[in-house]
Subunit: 603 residues, 2 copies
Amino acid sequence: MLDTSSPHVRAVLPLLYVAWADGVLVPSEADTIRRQIRAQDWIDASTREEICGHLDPQSPPTPTQYFRWIRALKEGAAQTSVTTRCSLAELGVSIAAGGSDGAALPEPSRRALEDIEAALNIDGEEVLSDLLGERPEPEPPAVEAPFEVDALTALLDGTHADLRERVRTLLQDPVFAYRPDLDTPAYREQVLHWCERLAEQGLGGLGYPEEHGGDGDMGKFITVFETLAYHDLSLVIKFGVQFGLFGGSIHRLGTENHHEAYLEPAASLELPGCFAMTEWGHGSNVRELETTARYDPAAEEFVINTPHDEARKEWIGNAAAHGRMATVFAQLHTDGEEHGVHAFLVPIRTEDGTPMPRVRIEDCGEKMGLNGVDNGRLWFDKVRIPRENLLDRYGRVAPDGSYDSPIPSPGKRFFTMLSTLVGGRISVARAGLSAAKSGLTIAVRYGNRRRQFGPKDEPEVPLLDYRTHKRRLLPRLATTYALHFALDDLTTRFAATGRDASLDTIEAEANALKAYATWHTTDTLQEAREACGGQGYRADNRIGRLKADTDVFTTFEGDNTVLMLQVAKGLLSDFRREFRDMNLLGMARFVADGMATRVTELN
Amino acid sequence: MLDTSSPHVRAVLPLLYVAWADGVLVPSEADTIRRQIRAQDWIDASTREEICGHLDPQSPPTPTQYFRWIRALKEGAAQTSVTTRCSLAELGVSIAAGGSDGAALPEPSRRALEDIEAALNIDGEEVLSDLLGERPEPEPPAVEAPFEVDALTALLDGTHADLRERVRTLLQDPVFAYRPDLDTPAYREQVLHWCERLAEQGLGGLGYPEEHGGDGDMGKFITVFETLAYHDLSLVIKFGVQFGLFGGSIHRLGTENHHEAYLEPAASLELPGCFAMTEWGHGSNVRELETTARYDPAAEEFVINTPHDEARKEWIGNAAAHGRMATVFAQLHTDGEEHGVHAFLVPIRTEDGTPMPRVRIEDCGEKMGLNGVDNGRLWFDKVRIPRENLLDRYGRVAPDGSYDSPIPSPGKRFFTMLSTLVGGRISVARAGLSAAKSGLTIAVRYGNRRRQFGPKDEPEVPLLDYRTHKRRLLPRLATTYALHFALDDLTTRFAATGRDASLDTIEAEANALKAYATWHTTDTLQEAREACGGQGYRADNRIGRLKADTDVFTTFEGDNTVLMLQVAKGLLSDFRREFRDMNLLGMARFVADGMATRVTELN
Ligand SMILES: Cc1cc2nc3c(=O)[nH]c(=O)nc-3n(C[C@H](O)[C@H](O)[C@H](O)COP(=O)(O)OP(=O)(O)OC[C@H]3O[C@@H](n4cnc5c(N)ncnc54)[C@H](O)[C@@H]3O)c2cc1C
Ligand SMILES: Cc1cc2nc3c(=O)[nH]c(=O)nc-3n(C[C@H](O)[C@H](O)[C@H](O)COP(=O)(O)OP(=O)(O)OC[C@H]3O[C@@H](n4cnc5c(N)ncnc54)[C@H](O)[C@@H]3O)c2cc1C
């Protein structure tokens, strides 16, 4: 049994400890140390041999012996001032000096020990932090922010800070409390009920003209949308379908009579409505959707028809349960001519909620998320609607069936109609960003409190002190700030654009930012989930829900890949026009081919 | 009104059509064309002026006029042999020749038209595919595989093809039918019931020694695990907790008496059990968990205790509802010494399912996924268990309390104990990959059938024909194949390693591949979801469920980031040993610092 109170033994104890620390002492290593130990004539001969006896790969120390060594090292170290920055040689020398007989070691001993240590290529710091001290209680994290919180808040809240604050206050009302236990039918009713409360507050019609009870300010509407997205994502999407897509299509594609008749009922939710563009067969390629609207001059009516099953309307929000009217996109036929996609107001349910005759409705069923929104399918079996139900800002049909439009080319007309959806795209990008912010807040806060691993003589380390953890969260936080300001700026410019001005550049930016921001959301929420470890997987941590609800943001309001192809194509066409350079033409062709002729548009 | 039957008009009609196609004719463009038209003396003078009249940016054609031009172009083109590869000039010349009077145009006209076309920098192909033909019905996609399907299947099924086939057949039994409508309690019972059916088939104990009713083949066990993961992920995790973690800990950390007493009841599910390692306060940093096991030599018992709330066992699979025993990891104290983390068998429920005295159990509640697994929390209030319940392969306590171990260093002992979990890590990587394969199958099949956009005279294009779509799915498919074979190879080597052989290199590979494969799963399922567009968001499309269930695979059985840091650290230490080079040392420090001292281990 090694006498751990002997200064000579104590001097080499750190090396003995390390030699056995990974359990297996390789013969060549053992030889090296033994050779060196035997050369230390300041250690008396018998002790030298005893030490060498403990360096035999064939007879490791027992756990109890090993435990005693550790205890001797710890106790010895506690009486000295060694830190984790010291070498093992220093530790040995120090605890030898502090040993029972107090005798200091001869001067050359330290250098000799250092040589052994170097020969063994040991990371002394790691070993020492294993040995030294007990872990004290963690300090509470500092709470003082190193910047002016109010100033940053004001900057982030932006132009419509008051409105934001109003929405936040509203959402704190117990009426808006989460009810995680609701099944899908009850959740849908809950979300409808919430939308009604928001409508009562006049928040639905903010984007509509003042003469129809609105505020004429899309900036305000988008602010509300973005703020609601910190709460429940089904709520924000239902809100968007009713007031943004349904009401917005009437506002942007209709004319005075439609505004007069429908904007106020839409804003008050007296008339719940849908935006029925997508078909089963055509999602991104809206231009080729197959629902028809044939004009019958004898009756002065349009006949809305679903020619076959692939032409059924698919995924239509508000259709499965609550919608009573739908803006239906269909190919207009009149006077023997085909004029492309136009929008028509089609009643789909009576006031008591039964489907209208010749309208068939089906529920799209459970989704990965957003189950508070009732998405449905619609079939029209030669449904007749009055001529006035054509939303006729970009195309009119006279009673005799003759067609007129301020835009002669059907292509240009189509794109102009769809550019009215830019507001929706900006809204979705901002709502996605709100969810990313929620997820980041959860993960960053957790990372600042959760401690895991750490040096022995210090509290465990908050996750955010690890470089990897910082790099997982902080660049995403920075991008989130950047996107916030980019989208805020875009919103401001969009809101300032008159109803008749061209949206061309704003549209291209909205397409690119919608795709970029929603992909950023998906990526950020994934990282936030993982950064919370197991706790990120709890349902009540919210990240799972945020992930599932926003997953479709990359698909709807314009599929991201298709949007990005469009943006790229636009940029390359611009180049082509500017330079007329064959190489650039080649590049443009490459992208254009990738889309097989042309990606028309998407909703 | 332009006479679209005149050959001269017809010759320039394609140019007129294009000039107005994007709705706005810029004055400078209009000037260019007018100048060129006026120079064409083969067109009679009045027609020239009439054409120029239709090139006035101030008075666009009416939609009806424009529609007539289009009809004339389409009808004209139909009588000729122009294709989308022709220029607009060729189209003009051809339809002029096919016009009412049949007169061919003079030779220079084509070159003149080509000059105008070039000056306008038009993409003729795009314009022509807009104009030409109707879209025919799509051809059904080819079904013949261009490789030997049976040979590839055999290669993928590998060594245990028969066993795989047996599991697949079993899963087709109506007993295993999905029941998407189940609530959490019913789903948990369903999954337990499924595990019992698998146990009846002898599939639970495949990895245990033959003398205890097993097959002694971890390769077989992992094959079953991987194959089950094509079905239900909660099933595979519950299966893994019971037979892999609970039973496996008895097999790998226990000795003969434990094997005799517990392996058969574990394999038959007569004794449902848990693997209780993680605590609320310590997940990745298992080495510092705080549950204690103090030996009481008077009673020859261990006292298992949860000293405070952060030391409660957290996330323990099978704990919330079904487990009757748990392998509990705790700090062993005996004979006045602390010997680090050891595993103890602790009964937690009676046969009738009530918690044992002094054991408190709580449900972890709803999770983002895997809700068929009952994860729970455990508190032990000085629970006494017999001395024999220490799983004592790597550490024994004699009746008098003295401790002994084949591995003297607590660090090495700890890592050796945990290396017995390598099988679980390989299993989880393979199960994740199964889910990625399911998702890819869904997305690739859909991409091969779903058509969207396309040239006018051809069927819409299957998504997989688009370069972007290919690039989204096929590299991931290739990586999936690569990972399949890498993991298969690793499994074979792992299964061939004796119980007493060192797992060092296999462990490092398992850590790296576990992290890489499960991140690949997360990424692949995300892309698969998006590649299916809206249909990817349907609950019954399965991708949502696969995503939610596998999301935690990057966290449990070793958090991926921590595993990767460990792998990197291991590699750098190897380098350091080999080269003793300061620069490499610097690199090693960098990574090591990033982990603040050392990442010990993780479960
Ligand atoms: C929850 C939900 C709510 C919705 N609400 C509504 C609503 O209220 N009203 C409404 O009208 N619609 C709604 N939609 C429909 C939505 O707008 C469409 O799903 C979307 O436009 C995409 O169309 P798609 O699903 O047919 O996908 P597709 O267009 O078939 O695209 C499938 C995949 O193919 C890729 N792809 C497509 N074309 C190309 C190309 N040319 N090149 C390369 N890749 C290509 C896409 O990137 C995508 O990954 C909703 C959808 C969902 C899921
Ligand atoms: C559904 C589910 C089932 C489970 N089943 C079981 C079970 O049956 N038995 C059982 O014992 N356990 C089980 N677990 C627990 C699981 O093993 C742990 O969640 C896992 O080990 C991670 O620990 P943690 O959650 O405490 O995360 P933490 O260790 O706190 O990690 C949180 C985050 O910090 C990062 N991090 C941690 N340390 C470092 C570092 N040094 N450097 C840089 N980054 C770091 C991680 O990457 C992670 O992103 C289960 C967990 C879940 C969610």
